[in-house]
Assembly symmetry: C2
Homo-oligomer: 130 residues x 2
DNA sequence: ATATAAAATAAGAATTGTTATCATTTTTGG
DNA sequence: CCAAAAATGATAACAATTCTTATTTTATAT
């Protein structure tokens, strides 16, 4: 990753400013310091910074929604290699809603935990190919 | 919600078939049973079914990504009324990764919990306006 | 310093996933 | 069986993001 003034400005804006902005919101602020900056540059850099763990991208970890006929409480794992979605039992995070409500005073109506990484099938295949 | 053959087929396909499909994937399968079905009908019904808690929609709970300079472990809450994003401390789900890895045998590299509902400010405003 | 290869840029076109519009058809309750 | 409400298919519109391309900037090795 080479240096660029634009990336510097993006990072500074993100670090010094509002928390959790969307790209659109950031773009509006950035325009003041860097009037010629392109939206593509912003997206390119945000993704790059996130890949290098300098910032964090908050999303569902995937572009399109998935639909699930199992309405019982459970969570999800998306394999970064085969893209399959697996169910994760909800006992991995007991009382998570109650705890979050107590800490914040918010009313929580929904929540989901999305894990990602490598599923056992892919782990196996990777091991075998080495 | 009135009956419709198309909705019936959508629900059956979702319930009998693959878990966690995307709309795109579902559409391809549906075309066989219901060749004239429209993509709009599919989306309309998926959202309707999800609203009535007959199926579940798995996504980041929001359309656009947010970016965060705080790379420490923490979770997020999105207020459905004011759309603000708040941090939630990670102690609401202790050892969640370790537990999920033990249950599944997967390698988990990332995870996030996204809560949604009403933040304290909005709860207050709602109460005051009544 | 200078040439050069690699990386980054701006601008806008293109793509993707999803929702809105609207004229037509289907469902339902009296 | 009829009117009102709901649902449909086709397609336009939309929002968020990524791709393309020609140009500029940065790092590197002389």
């Amino acid at each position: 990753m080479n240096y660029s003034r634009q990336r510097e400005v993006i990072l500074q804006t993100l670090q010094s400013n509002v928390v959790h902005p969307t790209a659109e919101y950031l773009y509006a602020i950035l325009k003041e310091k860097e009037p010629n900056i392109s939206l593509a540059t912003l997206y390119r850099n945000l993704n790059q910074l996130a890949e290098n763990d300098i910032i964090k991208k908050i999303d569902g970890l995937e572009s399109s929604s998935h639909f699930d006929h199992n309405t019982n409480e459970h969570y999800h794992f998306i394999c970064e290699r085969c893209k399959k979605v697996y169910d994760i039992k909800d006992d991995v995070a007991p009382d998570v809603v109650k705890k979050a409500e107590q800490e914040t005073g918010f009313l929580i109506k929904k929540h989901d935990i999305v894990f990602s990484g490598l599923c056992s099938d892919c782990l196996k295949e990777i091991k075998e190919s080495n």
